[in-house]
């Protein structure tokens, strides 16, 4: 489970949405260092479990999840003295203002409204200036 190679951590409970996101990232050769966790509890265990010292370069976090929702996961990450530096991009289904405001209050780095057209996902990642962060890696 512990993988120091993980650069993108995708926390998303909807398998179909996750698949589309992974496909989009694959097109840019970004999916090989991606880990998808579909359960938020598991994701927290992955990030904060005993002996775990993982620092993904980017966390893509779905807002609406059963049990522990995205906001709670975000709170946990941003209140951790070490892990709060990891950029978190919230994935939301709508522009409903209260979600956005709430996320920003907690120090979210960006949010993406999941587009119906999933190709736009990469454009959005691009626009957010996250691309360089992921691409500018020395090849292994």
């Amino acid at each position: 489970m512990i993988d120091r190679q993980v650069e993108i951590l995708l926390i998303e409970d909807n398998q179909d949405d996750a698949e589309l996101a992974i496909r989009a990232l694959k097109k840019k050769n970004l999916a090989n260092k991606l880990l998808h966790i579909s359960d938020s509890e598991e994701a927290l265990e992955y990030l904060f479990g005993e002996g775990n010292n993982t620092y993904p370069k980017l966390i893509l976090l779905d807002l609406k999840m059963p049990k522990i929702d995205g906001i709670q996961v975000l709170k946990r990450i941003k209140s951790d003295p070490d892990k709060k530096v990891i950029p978190v991009v919230m994935l939301t289904s709508s522009k409903e203002e209260k979600d956005i405001v709430e996320s920003y209050n907690l120090g979210v780095n960006a949010y993406i409204v999941k587009p119906v057209q999933f190709d736009k996902f990469l454009e959005v990642v691009d626009q957010l200036g996250m691309f360089w962060l992921l691409i500018n890696q020395p090849p292994k």
């Binding site: 179909d16 709508s94 999941k114």
Partner: protein, 444 residues
Amino acid sequence: MKLYIDKKALYGFVVALFILILLGYFSYRNNNQFMKSRELIFHATRVLNHIEQTQTNSVRVEEILAKYILTGDSSLLESYNKEVKKATTHYKSLVQLIGEKGSLQVKIDSFKVVGKRKFELHKKIMNAYKSSRQQAELMLNSHENRASSDKIALVLANMREEENRLLTERLKNGQIEIKYFQATFSVMMVFAFLILVAVFLVINRSFKLRLLAEEKASIVNQDLESFTYSVSHDLRAPLRSIRGFTEVLREEYGPTLGQEGNRLLSIVIRNAGRMGLLIDDLLDFSRLGRKTLTFSKIQVRELVTEIIQELTVHTPREVKWEVKHLDTIRADANMIRQVWINLISNALKYTLKVDKPVIEIGSFPKYGTTVYYVKDNGVGFDMKYSDKLFKVFQRLHNNQEFEGTGVGLALVQRIISKHNGKIWAEARVNEGASFFFYLNNPTV
């Protein structure tokens, strides 16, 4: 003035008001009566006092005369005159007080007769005294003189009795009046009090009903909000999958599906996209209802010019723009911007198939405010469908003719009615359409 108050409360209020006015009048009248009866009582006591004094004086006159006859002391004559004068004064006062009416009038007249008779007797006695003291003494003690004194006393006693009777009667009447007044006053007070309590209850109930209605409305609003939320989240997710995976299918298996297969996939993709637009527009529309307005002064001309530029920069077309004078407006900047965007892009859309499109934008004063308009020479519409124009998802053209979701004008109308304004349209088929609107807020 338009009345919003419950009818029952209104009637109760009117009746209570009427009773209060009645109470006021009643109190005033009663007060007058009371004053009058007090005056009468005072009058009676004064009359009684004068009768008493007259009686005392007449007795004293008799005594002084007797003393004088006995002693011959001429200084007593002075006292005699003084007492007579006093008695006369009281008598005159009595005449004045009693006036020319009432049962005392007869008695005072008879007093006058007996008084005069007495006076004449005294004169005779005094004349007799000059020649013979004995004679005078005899006259003084004579039956005639005594009877005269008794008559005076009797008349005065009669008068006193009569006046006392009047006084008791008046006192009694006064008391009855007071009792009557108190009873009526109390009954009216209680009645007014009960009505006011009833009015209070009715008003209270209507307030309660209003609060309940408000509560209900707020619950409905909350329901709507959570509905909106679930629409935005839950409806979009499957749609995303439909569109996303159809695109994946076309990309990865497109070559093996052939031309018809690809055409069908395009239809699925296009419709999924359209459904996404419909959901977005619907969300915009419902979100608008919950927004509060932030008013500011807006330079409409600048705004319109800016919007025209934005709308035409990516799709250059030959359109003749006629932007006339435009008054400034006080409105919510974001919302009024949406209004202009929708109206102008509609004008652009529906002039698409016209040879020489002309779009005129302007404002003019009317209805004590400013009416703004957007006029085009596009396809227009039949006025008999004008009632459908501003309804959600209602369209007068199909999607093949002109694209759209049917939310734009509904949104515009909702914004304008949120500003207490009005929007309407005039159009003819193939001769263009004009949209007019005003906000109730006066232009700055």
